[in-house]
């Protein structure tokens, strides 16, 4: 009972947030609404007992990918007024696409095959799909797992090689260099003959 209430609450929030993503005037607001949508979607996955997916969605998408989205939004100089020009011009096409999607959804939900797809398998007590995943990921698929590490490593190298630039015009100070300075490098003692008065 409580599960159903929670599901509908999450679903309502999810739909509202998703609607906000496409209607928000400000792209930053849209990105924040997307964060909320991801968050509630993670809640719904938790209800489906897909804990690992839920935690990954939170950790990777909300935690990292959305941060990147926000950076990109902030980095680009988006002209909001220009972006909104011709927004309603696409309405007929959008109505057609939306109509077909709605029709497909209804057709799928109304078909008699839909109900039979839900699993009736009994899950043993203490079953955790995160653990099941872990059992195979680090044994049976260990080779693929290590290649994934190498791919992440290549991503690190590529990101650094493509975006890291040394700036010549910064006035930043390096304290380590300052501390390493010695007297001999800064001060030159010159011995000059004393000037004698005649």
């Amino acid at each position: 009972m409580l599960e159903t209430i929670v599901f509908y609450a999450f679903a309502a929030i999810l739909l509202g947030a998703a609607l906000r993503v496409i209607t928000a005037r400000n792209p930053v607001h849209a990105a924040l609404a997307l964060v909320l949508a991801f968050f509630t979607a993670a809640g719904i996955w938790l209800l489906l007992r897909a804990e690992f997916l839920a935690i990954t969605l939170l950790l990777v998408y909300v935690g990292a990918v959305m941060v990147l989205f926000l950076f990109v939004v902030m980095m680009l100089d988006v002209n909001l007024e220009r972006l909104r020009e011709g927004f309603w011009k696409n309405l007929p096409m959008a109505v057609v696409v939306g109509g077909i999607m709605a029709f497909e959804l209804v057709a799928m939900l109304a078909s008699r095959h839909f109900g039979s797809a839900t699993s009736t398998r009994v899950v043993p007590a203490g079953y955790s799909n995160t653990r099941e995943l872990g059992r195979v990921l680090y044994t049976q698929y260990v080779y693929a797992f290590e290649i994934a590490a190498v791919i992440l490593l290549v991503a690190i190298i590529a990101a650094i090689a493509l975006t890291l630039r040394r700036r010549k015009d910064t006035k930043a100070l390096d304290p380590a260099l300052q501390l390493a300075a010695r007297r001999e490098e800064r001060v030159r003692l010159v011995s000059m003959p004393a000037e004698t008065e005649r």
């Binding site: 990954t56 990777v60 990292a64 980095m75 991503a155």
Partner: protein
């Protein structure tokens, strides 16, 4: 099993209530007489010169990408931690190799100066 998550749900609800309640109270109990001039943005008495938003430096991008990569690494740690009892020494060493490869990447980015902010 879902019952285990009930405290978290409760926590979220209480947290939300604590956040929303003061704003709601202020709105309900305080005086609220807006007019267009009060609501308009101002800048030391002038009209606003430009948008408050400014372009971020591209260097943030590198930080964000590096963050995502190590975040993904953490996502791999969860099932490993849960299943560690079942997978034994081989699974433990597999993760150590995984972490080792990424530590090389970390050492590289550190030495390369990608973490510095001039």
């Amino acid at each position: 099993m879902l019952a285990e998550y009930f405290p978290i749900l409760l926590f979220i609800l209480v947290g939300l209530a604590i956040g929303v309640a003061p704003m709601l109270l202020g709105r309900l109990l305080g005086p609220n007489r807006p007019d267009p001039e009060k609501l308009s943005p101002y800048e030391c008495g002038f009209e606003a010169f430009e948008d408050a938003r400014m372009k971020f430096d591209v260097r943030y991008y590198l930080v964000a990408i590096l963050f995502i990569l190590f975040d993904l690494e953490i996502a791999f740690l969860f099932p490993w931690a849960v299943a560690l009892n079942d997978i034994g020494m081989a699974g433990f060493l597999a993760m150590m190799l995984f972490l080792g490869i990424l530590v090389v990447g970390f050492a590289y980015e550190w030495a390369k100066g990608a973490l510095e902010w001039e």
